[in-house]
């Protein structure tokens, strides 16, 4: 099966007067048709930067190396006209903040129609309006034929996010990149939005790249998961392997530090990963996680940057200990 998206050795460096900052280092990933990939990490891990680099939406002082192939076509270095044609048609993005993503002076219906017309001008106004109503209905907006004429401020937060989803799937894209699509929402609204996303994905068989800090959301949505730390991928696995055969010490620390709704014993304090995630300029030599790691090997982890180790089929961890200790049963 040909992948929808294949990213190899993607690195992003920002150039400042004070020097270069390597924000993203050798990120590789692949998404197959219909597959959902979760990308998790804390603030500053590079997960949003990865999606911006894929979409070609980086500021001018960023230099990008590596390769981003979408449906077999190389996007890095591709002319802006090619990218513009792909964005919003084959490649859609759903951002975190639906209020700023929607234009306040146009109706929701007009904005959905615009998303269709910009790539295909053959439709009449009536056709576009009918399609906008159909899409609003699809994402569960009540009374779509009246709501289509509302402005964004007349929608609640959850409805705005759903309208944004309607807009992004208007052209039945091959890949939807959703960057923290539910972070600003209450939990019952989050459940509604994730449900809509799952139904749309099943209907249009598009692939999904879901960027989030919430391991619970990933557990429910993703087929495969990528864990990022300080600009690199530290672990990649099928969702079950990631949660039940967790290999990288950072992933293990993250899971142990989560308070659990389903906890049996609450008397135990939560695990706390010592220290902080380093800023790119303060990144230590060797493994970027070694100063916080409870199983780091002196003379190895603080010297040599670990390469990705295959611990089982489809499960990769960038950790020296994974190589020494072997796979977790």
């Amino acid at each position: 099966m040909n992948p929808v998206l294949e990213v190899e050795n993607l690195s992003v460096t920002f150039q400042y007067r004070e020097g270069d900052v390597a924000a993203l280092r050798n990120v590789s990933l692949r998404i197959d048709p219909g597959e959902s990939l979760g990308v998790v990490g804390e603030s500053g891990s590079g997960k949003s930067l990865t999606s911006a680099a894929i979409m070609g939406l980086l500021p001018n002082n960023a230099s990008v190396t590596g390769s981003v192939r979408f449906l077999g076509q190389e996007l890095l270095g591709a002319p802006e006209s090619t990218l513009r044609d792909l964005r919003g048609r084959r490649l859609a993005i759903i951002s975190q903040d639906a209020l700023t993503a929607l234009n306040p002076v146009h109706t929701v219906g007009a904005q959905i129609a615009e998303a269709i017309r910009v790539h295909d001008s053959s439709h009449s106004r009536a056709e576009l309006r009918a399609r906008a109503i159909e899409l609003l209905d699809l994402v569960g907006i009540p009374q779509p034929s009246t709501r289509v004429d509302n402005y964004p401020h007349e929608f609640s937060g959850g409805m705005r996010q759903r309208a944004l989803i309607a807009m992004s799937v208007a052209n039945e894209p091959d890949l939807i990149i959703a960057d923290e699509p539910t972070t600003a929402l209450d939990v019952t609204v989050q459940a509604q939005v994730l449900d809509v996303l799952a139904r749309i994905q099943a209907r249009t068989s598009s692939s999904l790249m879901l960027i989030t800090h919430d391991l619970g959301v990933v557990a429910g949505v993703a087929d495969r998961v990528l864990v990022m730390y300080s600009g690199s991928v530290v672990e990649e696995a099928g969702v079950d392997d990631l949660f039940y055969k967790t290999t990288h010490p950072y992933t293990r620390g993250l899971l142990a530090s989560l308070p659990r709704l389903d906890a049996r014993d609450r008397s135990q304090p939560l695990y706390r990963i010592p220290g902080f995630q380093p800023a790119p300029v303060e990144r230590p030599p060797g493994c970027p996680f070694h100063p916080r790691c409870d199983v780091a090997v002196a003379g190895l982890c603080d010297v040599e940057r670990p390469l990705p180790i295959v611990v089982r089929t489809g499960h990769v961890a960038s950790c020296h200990r994974a190589e020494i200790d072997g796979p977790i049963a």
Partner: protein, 322 residues
């Protein structure tokens, strides 16, 4: 055991203005008759979604917002009946920790000045301010080297620790924690939650823990009150609430929380609520939840009372309390 904090029938109304002249045309009850009780060394979780009034309750407790009616009692002393010096002295005993450690610390003051400001304002510790500030920082797990630093030089977790140290300066009996960890990454959040637990054990503090994250609330709370549109809909000890929620809103809320466990996620039955939260200006008559409730009947046209059986309080006509 007597309660260190008691809240009786708290109401906070805000005027609704409309038209060019901004005339008052109605009112919104942000908090609509809430009663709570909290013992020393215990944590009460106050949960609910955006706009349910949980933060307004917190602000009423510490006196940042003047309640429209109702009483707040500290160790039996009615704060609502006090004024002037007496009220100022009583206020020392209940302190607030804010959500956003980036916005709640003065960027132009050093950590030492921030932490010792409450002492200065209340005329305490005139000579040994620095020593007291250092001791407070030590209590929250910060080294005294940050005393001369400014908030922008600290990480998010360190800032929240400084905010907690400031709240502890006046040796309060009750701390109101308004979303104290929701701006923090999980690995940092764990450190703050552990710290709060240690402080409670060491100092016998009582916490009102306001949060929207039900997993965090479960971890820290002894009792939990669930709010919906200004009212408490369910109020019971934490274990009971999470094991057998009785109000349909609590059931929906709990079922919506994503679990970091793929197998559990796949086998889960989610209750998806229909529609959106009604506007507080235009509430449904009767039970505020009935516009989204799958159990609602004609009986729900009247406001359900908070009924108690075996210490489990539920405000629902259809909740089985036997």
């Amino acid at each position: 055991m007597t309660a260190v904090l008691e809240v009786r029938d708290l109401v906070k109304e805000y005027p609704v203005r409309s038209g060019v002249l901004r005339r008052v045309t109605g009112s919104v009850k942000a908090v609509n008759g809430i009663s709570l009780s909290l013992e020393r060394g215990r944590t009460l979780g106050l949960v609910g979604e955006t706009g349910c009034g949980k933060s307004t309750v917190g602000r009423c407790l510490v006196g940042l917002v003047e309640p429209t009616s109702g009483a707040v009692l500290l160790d039996g002393d009615n704060l609502s009946a006090m004024s002037g010096r007496e009220l100022r002295a009583a206020r020392r005993r209940i302190q607030l920790v804010f959500q956003d450690p980036y916005a709640s610390l003065d960027p132009r003051q050093s950590v030492e000045a921030i932490v010792s400001e409450p002492l200065r304002l209340h005329g305490l510790a005139r000579n040994n301010e620095s020593a007291r500030a250092a001791a407070l920082l030590d209590l929250v797990g910060l080294s005294s080297s940050v005393l001369q630093q400014y908030p922008h030089e600290l990480s998010g977790g360190q800032r929240q620790r400084a905010g907690i140290a400031r709240a502890l300066a006046l040796e309060p009996e009750v701390m109101v924690l308004d979303e104290p960890v929701s701006a923090l990454d999980v690995s940092v959040q764990a450190g703050i939650l552990n710290l709060l637990e240690e402080l409670q054990q060491e100092l016998g503090l009582a916490y009102v823990f306001i949060a929207h994250d039900l997993s965090v609330v479960r971890h820290v709370s002894h009792e939990v009150a669930v709010m919906y549109l200004g009212r408490i809909v369910e109020y019971v000890d934490a274990d009971t609430l999470y094991a057998s929620p009785r109000h349909p809103y609590t059931q929906a809320l709990l079922s919506a929380v994503p679990l970091p466990d793929p197998r559990a996620e796949r086998s889960r039955q989610r209750i998806l609520l229909e529609g959106d939260l009604p506007s507080p200006i235009d509430l449904p008559t009767g039970c505020a939840f009935r516009s989204r409730c799958w159990n609602s009947t004609d009986a729900c046209a009247t406001v359900p009372e908070l009924r108690v059986a075996d210490g489990h309080a539920v405000a629902c006509h259809h909740a089985d309390l036997t």
